[in-house]
């Protein structure tokens, strides 16, 4: 067989399929993990009926959704209504070809030297499906959900992109593999770029419509938001796209800020060269580390969902435009100053100090607030 064909078409396709299957498995698992974890956090058990510990819930749900009646509202815009759930799926799937899962070249599907930009460009098209679906349902709640989603996506695309700039300035590359290689020889980027990491994390929650920012489907306000009128497999497609995008963003934050497939800093630990030294097993190990990190962030999504109330729409905009964007710009400026001064190591210490202060404060018992506790004070 032609070697070029093998290198550029067959192998990438095979690798993409493998990665795609893994990701879809995570999606299936997440439907169970999310509810189970939510249950455990909320003093209940979560789904535990289908199979042992409810493990087969991830299969039972799609089967149920597939068998469900596919309802088309009479006054819906038919073509747009059908396109709505399909459109977000495409970018959500395509992006998986661009992410390095393990040590290159064997464990990257394609290596694009502007991979980061390409991913940003592709993922931001996912919103069209939601807007289209919300509008085509011909339901006021859906419409409001769709509009909210559009505004939210547009607003948070900006801090999302800006927060990455700091990383780019440090690492000097748009190539995801390069960014990871930089982090294993230096510290993981979340240390020098703690603020950027925070902004990225917040924006990615907002991009995915996850809980503090789940306005487009805010079930207590808009019934179900943009997918109020969707049922059956179309609804499943929306969910599939949402979870896939969650995984994409988790992959991105792992790659950009948490060392990708490596497990080590300053050249110590399981760096790429060490993993390569272990041969194929090392590659598998790298991918495992990568997906383990991704799963951690997926769980953090759930943890957030369990903890936080929901923002209001104008507050969400405020946060995006008045806080996140200036903060991201400031971060770029400060990073630039440090780089100019050649004091990049100092940023690590600042990041460490901030983290340390947070942990310290959090470990302390909060002082009881006097007035609220007056009942007990007076008794004592």
């Amino acid at each position: 067989m032609n070697k070029a064909l093998l290198t550029y078409l067959v192998w990438p396709l095979v690798k993409f399929l493998i990665a795609f299957i893994i990701v879809q498995l995570i999606v299936v698992a997440m439907t169970w993990i999310e509810r189970r974890l939510l249950g455990f956090i909320q003093a209940r058990l979560g789904p535990n009926r289908v199979g042992p510990w409810g493990l087969l819930q991830g299969i039972a749900d799609p089967v149920k959704l597939l068998l469900k009646e596919d309802i088309l509202p009479t006054s819906a815009e038919k073509i747009a209504y059908f396109l709505g759930p399909m459109l977000p799926l495409i970018p959500a799937f395509v992006v998986f070809a661009l992410i390095p899962y393990g040590p290159p070249p064997a464990f990257t599907v394609t290596r694009v030297n502007v991979g980061l930009l390409l991913i940003l460009a592709i993922t931001s098209t996912a919103v069209y499906g939601i807007i289209l679906g919300g509008w085509a349902s011909n339901n006021k709640y859906s419409l409001m959900g769709g509009l909210r989603s559009a505004a939210q996506m547009v607003s948070y695309e900006v801090p999302f992109g800006l927060s990455i700039v700091g990383v780019l300035m440090i690492t000097g590359s748009l190539d995801l593999v390069q960014i990871v290689r930089y982090q294993e020889t230096n510290a993981w980027n979340f240390l020098p770029q703690l603020v950027a990491c925070f902004i990225f994390f917040v924006s990615m929650n907002a991009e995915n419509n996850r809980t503090p920012f789940d306005l487009p489907e805010a079930e207590s306000e808009l019934v179900a938001g943009f997918h109020t009128e969707y049922s059956g497999m179309k609804f499943a497609f929306f969910m599939l796209a949402e979870y896939s995008m969650m995984i994409v963003n988790s992959c991105l934050i792992v790659t950009l800020f948490f060392g990708g497939w490596t497990f080590g800093m300053f050249g110590v630990g399981l760096t790429t060269s060490v993993l390569r030294g272990m041969g194929f097993f090392g590659g598998i190990l790298g991918a495992a580390i990568f997906f383990a990190k991704v799963m951690v962030f997926m769980l953090v999504y759930v943890w957030f969902r369990a903890t936080f109330p929901r923002f209001r729409f104008d507050q969400l905009m405020d946060l995006g435009w008045k806080w996140m964007i200036p903060l991201a710009l400031g971060n770029i400026f400060v990073t630039g100053l440090f780089i100019l001064a050649g004091q990049e190591r100092l940023m690590y210490w600042i990041g460490l100090a901030l983290l340390g202060a947070t942990v310290f404060y959090l470990g302390r018992k909060p002082a009881p607030r006097k007035g609220i506790h007056a009942s007990r004070v007076s008794e004592a």
């Binding site: 903890t307 947070t358 007035g371």
Partner: protein, 176 residues
């Protein structure tokens, strides 16, 4: 008393400690014991006073109709006739209970009938600790005297009735 408003310090605000505090709480809860009961397998035992399904005792009942009077929604139907019996050579007038029906589907389990019952022990009581009363047919919830006394022995539900036999939603009953 004026309620106290929380005043976080500047550093606490900067480090988003208010949010992390909540995360800490949920994380701690993750490892606490769970309170839900896996219902059909595990059951909570009702307390001794739990007001559940009725139980009726024909032998104790003196047919005084006080329970029917006490019922706020009139779902206890009692028919009585007088009978003469001979006891020790004397003729004695007794009340004989012909009908003692309770329309359990309309019951709100207030236990006023139990409270009104003058016999000791009560001849109608609700402390049977039975709460699984769901049926597939509304009419199954109309209990007559025998059923009220021996509902444990009632034939269990065996399956949906045939299509023709299915009770239809009768609008007259709704309007009444």
């Amino acid at each position: 008393m004026q309620v106290e408003y929380p005043k976080p310090s500047w550093s606490q605000k900067f480090l988003v400690l208010d949010l992390l505090e909540g995360l800490k709480t949920t994380f701690r809860e993750l490892f606490k014991p769970k309170v839900t009961v896996r219902y059909p397998e595990e059951r909570n035992e009702p307390t001794d006073r739990f007001r559940g399904m009725f139980k009726f005792s024909y032998d104790r009942c003196i047919a005084c109709k006080l329970c029917a009077v006490a019922c706020p929604i009139d779902i206890i139907y009692i028919d009585v006739h007088d009978d003469m019996i001979e006891e020790g050579g004397k003729k004695k007038k007794v009340k004989v209970l012909d009908r003692y029906d309770i329309d359990v589907k309309r019951c709100m389990f207030c236990a006023l009938c139990e409270e009104a019952c003058p016999t000791k022990p009560k001849s109608i009581w609700l402390t049977t600790k039975t709460y699984e009363l769901a049926t597939y047919d509304r009419n199954d919830l109309y209990f007559n005297m025998q059923e009220l006394e021996y509902w444990e022995d009632r034939p269990r539900y065996t399956g949906l009735p045939e299509e023709d036999e299915k009770p239809r939603l009768d609008e007259t009953r709704l309007l009444k």
